[in-house]
Point group: C2
Chain length 191, copies 2
């Protein structure tokens, strides 16, 4: 199976919706770096952008990404370096889009996800179809905290169908790491 166009993934830490609906910046967590890098690599994504405008957070991420390239990191677990080699910290969604445009020579199709979308363009099959027709790379965005802001969602090119659970009581609260894994798998199976 081959991706029809290069796929990029972004985990947004700012701007993000807070619990009460205002705009905030969340902290980068170590597990989000690792788990999502591993999913992205396994499912053929070309690069994983950790998006945060906070300089001290950027330094922290760079330090973590750097560790797995040191001798102790490499000896302990060489696969981690391999996973993290495609992770990159960047200031903003717009900067990531520009970086992808620079690499690919085309502006990517910006795809957003969210558990509470009431309107969406389609499922993974429809998205793959659109990517093939448009012949543009894909940039898949995930929010931390309480999700991507309304303006990011509205400006996107494609809103993916949410992941619906099957709990009897309607419980539906996946971690972002789990949601990323599920969407990556669904996309691979829709090729």
């Amino acid at each position: 199976m081959k991706l029809p166009q290069p796929f990029y993934i972004g985990l947004v830490h700012g701007p993000i919706r807070s619990k009460d609906g205002s705009e905030i910046t969340t902290s980068v967590t170590n597990l989000d770096i690792h788990d999502i890098a591993r999913s992205a690599r396994t499912f053929g994504f070309k690069r994983y952008f950790l998006i945060t405008p906070i300089k001290s957070q950027q330094s922290m991420v760079k330090k973590i990404l750097g560790f797995w390239e040191t001798d102790s990191g490499l000896i302990y677990n060489p696969d981690r370096k391999n996973a993290l080699s495609e992770a990159q910290v960047i200031d903003s969604i717009e900067d990531a889009i520009e970086e992808i445009t620079r690499i690919e020579g085309k502006r990517p199709l910006v795809v957003v996800t969210g558990a509470n979308f009431e309107k969406y363009e389609g499922k993974e099959k429809e998205l793959i179809q659109k990517i093939k027709i448009d012949e543009r790379p894909m940039f898949l965005l995930f929010g931390t905290g309480w999700g991507l802001t309304a303006s990011v969602v509205e400006q996107a090119d494609f809103r993916l169908e949410p992941i619906f659970g099957i709990a009897n009581d309607g419980y539906n609260h996946l971690s972002v790491r789990s949601a990323v894994a599920i969407y990556c798998d669904r996309l691979a199976r829709s090729l």
Copy 2:
């Protein structure tokens, strides 16, 4: 969508394969408790067993599970209590099987997963079919560390097809949290 029989999930910390193939016990991690509890709840699983024979680890898990029932935990994030209400720490795989048998009045079908299986009984569709025919609850086991031991895998009733990535260079190293999420989603979509 409705599950044909009650589904149970188990995360095994001992016995587990180590990097060099010997049997070890791994540590329970906070993120494995939370992420897998949330996936299990979202996809309708009835209970989530954290399997470890180490008493100090059991106490630690109980303390974490307890926090989300305290006032501060409930006020901060009531959904966490909801997710963790079905998590339970237990000594061994055999004890978990006995507990399920006690609850359901039938021994569960023990299903194992692993990234490196060379032989397996089938995909999620075949598993759901078997559960319907056998009319037995399902107990889905995941390993931490370097995976479930050979004897656990051999004694299981059903080995699920591994998750194959699509990376050009064959990279395939999902976290157990990601693997759980993907299998839960695949099972729900196979109903």
